[in-house]
Subunit: 192 residues, 2 copies
């Protein structure tokens, strides 16, 4: 998606060769107009897939999933990272290793909100080694929900998570695929 | 807002006399169509206030703020609750006591995204004793940003935070104001 690639080139900051900061428009300050265009693009790609639910993980997936859900007109469910006393009863849980925070955490979704009747579009801001996405896939499997597709804003292709998911047959769409990055230059895969 | 009150009556669950669970449509599973109507309503009320930025706190404020921001066409900034190595440099920080989690936490916003040029609309899902909102107000004060208004989905009026903010002169709009709740009945203030 040219709009997103251009924005990454303009406002993205590379740190330590593998960290890309896009906090001015994607995951701290949010350019909701850009996010709405991203949601439209996911809708264009997955609109005929019979999606019944959009699933993401807090916190940075929520805005993107919400502005995607509005086009599909289906509910959005976000997995929680901390167990709150407001989540009661039965939950699906999966353990995830966070690259960003350098530690493990659980992601949980209340069993009420995901079932074998659901056909899910998974959404997230980043895909690197794929650990967070594995947690969501694990939860979908526990629920018996079918995964129609995975929509990612920025894939760091050189970290391998995306290719692994594609080789396992998942329909994965990354709107910007970074093959290489340095402080001075960001290279993208050719767009499909 | 009748639409929201009706939904709370239909799907809200009261626990322990002061906890209202609305996780089926507002803060775990999200009815994005309802949230979009909420955003439209905040826009109707605050559209002439010269809002430059919408500010909320992760996680449950993000979807509502995003679907409000899309109507104002201004950036959304969400305060983070945990310090990540992806937040670098200068941040505004304020300490908040969480009623839900029963502990203190810091909320932080990168200084890049809030300044004395901003006129802010603060958004959150709940207002109870007002502690989370105090954290956001504190950050706006540190930044020198002016607060044009506070938009809340559900105010638990009987916990006092809203009246305190109103008495201090804040323009506070709560779309559903609960005066009393039991497991069998939820009472709302008369709508303005």
């Amino acid at each position: 998606m040219k709009l997103l690639e251009d924005r990454i080139r303009k406002d993205g900051l590379v740190r330590d060769t593998d960290v890309l900061k896009v906090d001015s428009f994607l995951n701290h300050q949010l350019d909701v107009s850009l996010l709405n265009s991203i949601g439209e693009e996911f809708y264009r790609i997955y609109k005929d897939e019979g999606i019944t639910k959009i699933v993401t993980v807090e916190a940075s997936g929520i805005a993107i999933a919400s502005l995607t859900g509005i086009h599909f007109n289906v509910p959005v469910v976000f997995a929680k990272k901390a167990k709150s006393k407001n989540i009661e009863g039965d939950v699906y849980t999966s353990k995830v290793h966070s690259f960003t925070y350098g530690r493990d955490y659980d992601v949980t979704i209340s069993k009420k909100f995901l079932s074998e009747k659901d056909r899910v579009l998974l959404i997230d801001d980043f895909l690197a080694n794929g650990k967070a996405m594995r947690g969501l896939l694990d939860i979908c499997e526990q629920a018996g929900a079918s995964v129609a597709g995975i929509g990612i804003c920025i894939e760091k292709e050189f970290q391998g998570g995306g290719d692994e998911l594609r080789s396992q047959g998942y329909h994965l769409t990354s709107l910007a695929r970074i093959t290489k990055m340095t402080e001075n230059e960001i290279e993208f895969s050719e767009r499909e």
